[in-house]
């Protein structure tokens, strides 16, 4: 799709997000935004987490998933909508987004009585389309992926005189997102570090601008996932470059090219960029569900994932705020995340073992497993692929244990009693490494 950038086509040109002319936002933009949006946005709590004791630092969670549409994008959307000129408000706005940005725009445009159109590719999940429609937006399905949808949206913008609003790079959007930083400083005045999820970079740019102006000693860390390292690549190439995105748990962060304005604003004032493995994301979601009782989407849990993966040892005994940016996770995916998280923590163990097919063979196996306190979740038998012995059956068992030591106990038990056995995840352990290695097939 590089052909789109070869000729400076007028359709793709968004005056607010121009590659040749990136804009930087200032603190005044953010504080003005805070005042402007305060009537329509919930001031979300920033609560101390129960996990602080485990990780040796004071962890605070900024619960921005409690906004009405479930993500922090509402702040930027409302700010941008309120800053439109009266003619633009009458004509309406348009946006191309798969997720939180379109919902936020639909909700607030409806409240402010501005006509809103959203363009989504045909791979969009039905729930998201329905949600936007229920907020009163005009949803158009076009294109096979986000690039085509975006092109179509910009075309419609030129045709119908609508204002195109980019979900992470528009300066008004970034200023709105920055209000999170202002609230954090109000609620936790002596914060030492803030972990900000990075997708297109809008939140990072806004929060960094806000906080660094008021208190330059606070460390701002951007956190992104391994499967979509748009900012890392942008830093390496001194400018945003398109990255091939693979399917990721953090779909809210899956943006191929980082925002130009965001990159310019954030690159000088950000302290460190951390890249997190997807396994830790699943574990972070699990931890947030179990301990804090919050349902957070992949993109929102990256900060907690970074802490859990041990990627910020220098923050021990400091006050750290993680921004939980959104909660819009599909419940099926939530179920799978919980299972993945349990498997990654070795509390869900899968193994295969060959037992005798005579009566009592499997009963014996179950009795042995139960005797050490392991709970069996699922058990399947397979007869056809057992080599050599007609009277044996291969049994696949999925069971729940207390933790890695308990798993070792189980493994010792099985290895002592049976000749043929195989624990899934044996070879994975060697490959599990803390990030900073690009493009791997670990997950």
């Amino acid at each position: 799709m590089e052909s789109y950038t070869v000729e400076p086509s007028t359709i793709e040109f968004d005056p607010m997000c121009d590659k040749e002319n990136p804009q930087r936002i200032s603190f005044e933009d953010v504080s003005a935004a805070a005042f402007r949006i305060q009537s329509g946005i919930r001031k979300t709590p920033c609560v101390k987490s129960h996990m602080s004791a485990i990780y040796g630092m004071d962890i605070y969670l900024k619960n921005d998933f409690l906004q009405h549409t479930g993500s922090f994008k509402e702040r930027g959307a409302r700010n941008a909508l309120l800053l439109l000129s009266p003619e633009a408000k009458k004509c309406g706005v348009i946006s191309a987004s798969l997720g939180n940005h379109s919902q936020a725009m639909s909700y607030h445009a409806n409240l402010l009585q501005i006509p809103v159109t959203v363009v989504m590719p045909n791979v969009a999940p039905i729930m998201k389309i329905q949600k936007c429609q229920s907020y009163g937006a005009n949803v158009i399905i076009h294109g096979n992926d986000m690039k085509e949808a975006k092109y179509h949206a910009m075309m419609l913008a030129k045709e119908r005189q609508l204002t195109y609003i980019n979900g992470y790079d528009h300066p008004h959007i970034m200023s709105g997102q920055g209000t999170v930083g202002l609230e954090i400083l109000e609620q936790v005045p002596d914060v030492d570090a803030v972990l900000v999820p990075v997708g297109g970079g809008g939140l990072l740019a806004g929060v960094a601008t806000a906080i660094k102006h008021l208190n330059p000693n606070v460390l701002i860390y951007g956190v992104e996932t391994e499967k979509c390292p748009s900012m890392k690549v942008a830093i390496k190439n001194e400018g945003p470059v398109s990255v091939e995105i693979k399917s990721t748990l953090a779909d809210g962060l899956a943006v191929p090219t980082m925002g130009y304005n965001a990159f310019l604003t954030a690159k000088t004032i950000m302290d460190k960029l951390i890249t997190v493995n997807e396994d830790w994301l699943a574990r972070a979601i699990l931890r947030l569900v179990e301990q804090e009782k919050y349902v957070v989407e992949g993109g929102g849990a990256v900060g907690v994932a970074a802490i859990m993966a041990g990627l910020v040892p220098e923050l021990a005994n400091k006050k750290v705020v993680c921004i939980l940016s959104g909660g819009n996770i599909d419940t099926t995916i939530l179920g799978r995340c919980l299972e993945r998280g349990l498997a990654a923590e070795q509390r869900l163990v899968k193994f295969k073992v060959t037992v005798s097919d005579r009566p009592g063979g499997i009963a014996e196996l179950c009795k042995m497993i139960a005797s050490i306190g392991v709970s069996i979740k699922d058990i399947m038998q397979e007869r056809a692929w057992v080599y050599g012995d007609i009277f044996s059956v291969q049994v696949k068992v999925v069971c729940e244990t207390r933790g890695p030591e308990h798993k070792k106990e189980l493994r010792a038990l099985i290895s002592n009693l049976y000749k043929e056995w195989y624990f899934a995840g044996d070879y994975d352990e060697r490959l599990r490494r803390i990030s900073n290695v690009t493009e791997s097939d670990v997950a």
């Binding site: 709590p45 609560v47 129960h50 998933f65 409690l66 009405h68 479930g70 039905i126 729930m127 329905q130 699990l286 569900v289 179990e290 804090e292 009782k293 919050y294 349902v295 957070v296 909660g327 419940t331 099926t332 939530l334 179920g335 919980l338 299972e339 998280g341 349990l342 306190g373 709970s375 979740k377 729940e400 244990t401 207390r402």
Partner: protein, 478 residues
């Protein structure tokens, strides 16, 4: 075991099946037999005496409130994002953010703080399914009081680990809560610890009442409060507190129909022993409601509502999907009554209602299953079986592509050959589980499939012909 202070006590412990001599009974009214349960009482708890029920007053509740204020911040009361969907102003009082995840922490802390010095030395013992045990273990650890918890055998692993992690002695015994409780009393007889009943101890009820006071402070315009009921402690506390502050507020107790002990008690004017079924709201499976709780709550309750497990699953799904909170079955019971609208509770339309979400300790294995069950009930997951001639791969392809074109997602499928009718060697059954958007979409899918593959499809009927809810499900009390 051999420390007889008086011979009658020893008699009680060594030969339980013979009962107490009538002469001794006359002298000790405190150990009368429970007429519903003819075994003699080893389970004598002076705090929860059936013959001497303690009524909790507002004074005790405000005392508990003052003590707890120093330790707990006020828990959030949030307005729901889906008020339009329900047709009333729904608010949630969230008790899920405590360290051990349930409102039991209030009762645990208050009770432990109010123990006398000699009681602290001997420690406390309790039987519980989970939340209460964890709360006691946590505060016992903080206040340096030895805690013993007796848990039934089916308790979840992480509950056991958490109790052990806080230094409590954990005993796993009993197939049900009642058996665990019995074992707890046997252990207590030896160790001299104090038995703490989670739903009936007067201090626990008073501490639960502080939730009611907070609700009235945070939302003075409340019209009705929905409260999950198991043993009745939460109901008793909140109803006493609220009726004292503002008697016009309606108090509804919501109970799972599988373990409706409190409802039966209200009908019979006396705590009634039932066999509690296994419900998704595990913590509410109490066979006999508390005596103190029952007598305290009786004059204050406006209505008892029975809900079935499917609604509870739907409530858990709703909280996870729409509000982004994790509540367990017991905690979501209060919201589940609203899923029976408009057939039950029509008088709540347009009113301001507070649902008390009492806890969030749901197992990470149960949560996905609960979500799936709820989706099946709502028609978002449907199951169908198609009869196909064997080896016709084009038919299978047609089926899958039809489903895909309708926008449905196939979650699981398997084929079966063996259990067929006679002489029918060449047919296979293809069973599919599909995900749809909602019940209307499911009906569309059903119509299309039956049109395209006539007489070959069989749909699991449950979402398409749900059992109608009768309005007598909610029982009004005189």
């Amino acid at each position: 075991m051999q420390k007889p202070t008086n011979t009658v006590q020893l008699h009680l412990e060594t030969t339980p099946s013979l009962g107490i001599a009538p002469g001794a009974l006359v002298n000790r009214d405190s150990a009368k037999r429970n007429i519903w349960c003819p075994k003699p009482e080893i389970e004598f708890d002076s705090w929860c005496n059936p013959n001497n029920p303690k009524l909790i007053t507002y004074k005790e509740i405000s005392k508990a409130m003052n003590v707890l204020r120093e330790h707990f911040p006020v828990t959030p009361l949030l307005r729901s994002r889906c008020c339009v969907q329900f047709g009333l102003e729904v608010n949630y009082k969230l008790e899920i953010f405590h360290r051990t995840g349930s409102f039991n922490e209030r009762g645990a802390l208050y009770t432990l703080l109010m123990l006398k010095e000699n009681q602290r030395k001997f420690g406390v013992i309790t039987a519980s399914t989970g939340s209460w045990a964890m709360a006691l273990a946590y505060y016992g650890h903080k206040l340096d009081i030895p805690v013993t918890t007796v848990l039934p055998l089916y308790t979840l692993i992480n509950v056991v680990e958490m109790c052990k992690g806080y230094g409590a002695t954990v005993i796993l015994n009993g197939k049900s809560l009642a058996e665990a409780k019995n074992q707890a009393f046997i252990v207590r007889a030896e160790s001299g610890a104090t038995y703490l009943n989670s739903y009936d101890h007067p201090y626990a009820i008073a501490a639960a009442g502080s939730i009611g006071v907070e609700i009235m402070e945070q939302l003075p315009q409340t019209d009705a409060i929905l409260i999950p009921v198991g043993g009745g402690g939460l109901l008793a506390g909140i109803s006493t507190a609220v009726k004292h502050i503002k008697p016009e507020v309606l108090i509804y107790g919501i109970e799972p129909e599988k373990c409706c002990g409190f409802y039966k008690a209200m009908k019979n004017e006396h705590p009634y022993h039932i066999i509690a079924g296994r419900s998704i709201a595990g913590s509410l499976a109490i066979s006999t409601p508390g005596h103190n709780a029952f007598h305290t709550a009786k004059p204050s309750i406006n209505k008892m509502v029975l809900v079935n497990d499917d609604w509870i699953s739907r409530a858990v799904l709703h909280l996870t999907e729409e509000e982004r909170f994790v509540a367990d079955g017991a905690g979501a019971t209060s919201l589940s009554a609203l899923f029976g609208l408009p057939n039950i509770l029509p008088e709540l339309r347009g009113k301001t209602v507070v649902c008390v979400i009492s806890g969030g300790n749901i197992d990470t294995d149960t949560l996905p299953r609960c979500i799936e069950r709820a989706k099946a009930v709502e028609g978002r997951i449907i199951k169908m079986t198609v009869t196909l001639p064997a080896d016709e791969t084009t038919e299978q392809l047609k089926i899958f592509s039809t489903i895909a074109n309708l926008g449905c997602n196939v979650r699981q499928y398997y084929t079966e050959h063996a259990w067929l009718t006679e002489n029918d060697f060449y047919t296979i059954y293809l069973t599919l589980t599909c995900e749809t958007r909602d019940i209307k979409h499911a009906c569309t899918l059903k119509r299309v499939m039956e049109r395209l593959f006539p007489n070959m499809c069989h749909f699991l009927e449950e979402p398409f012909s749900p059992i109608p809810i009768c309005s007598c499900f909610a029982k009004k009390l005189p």
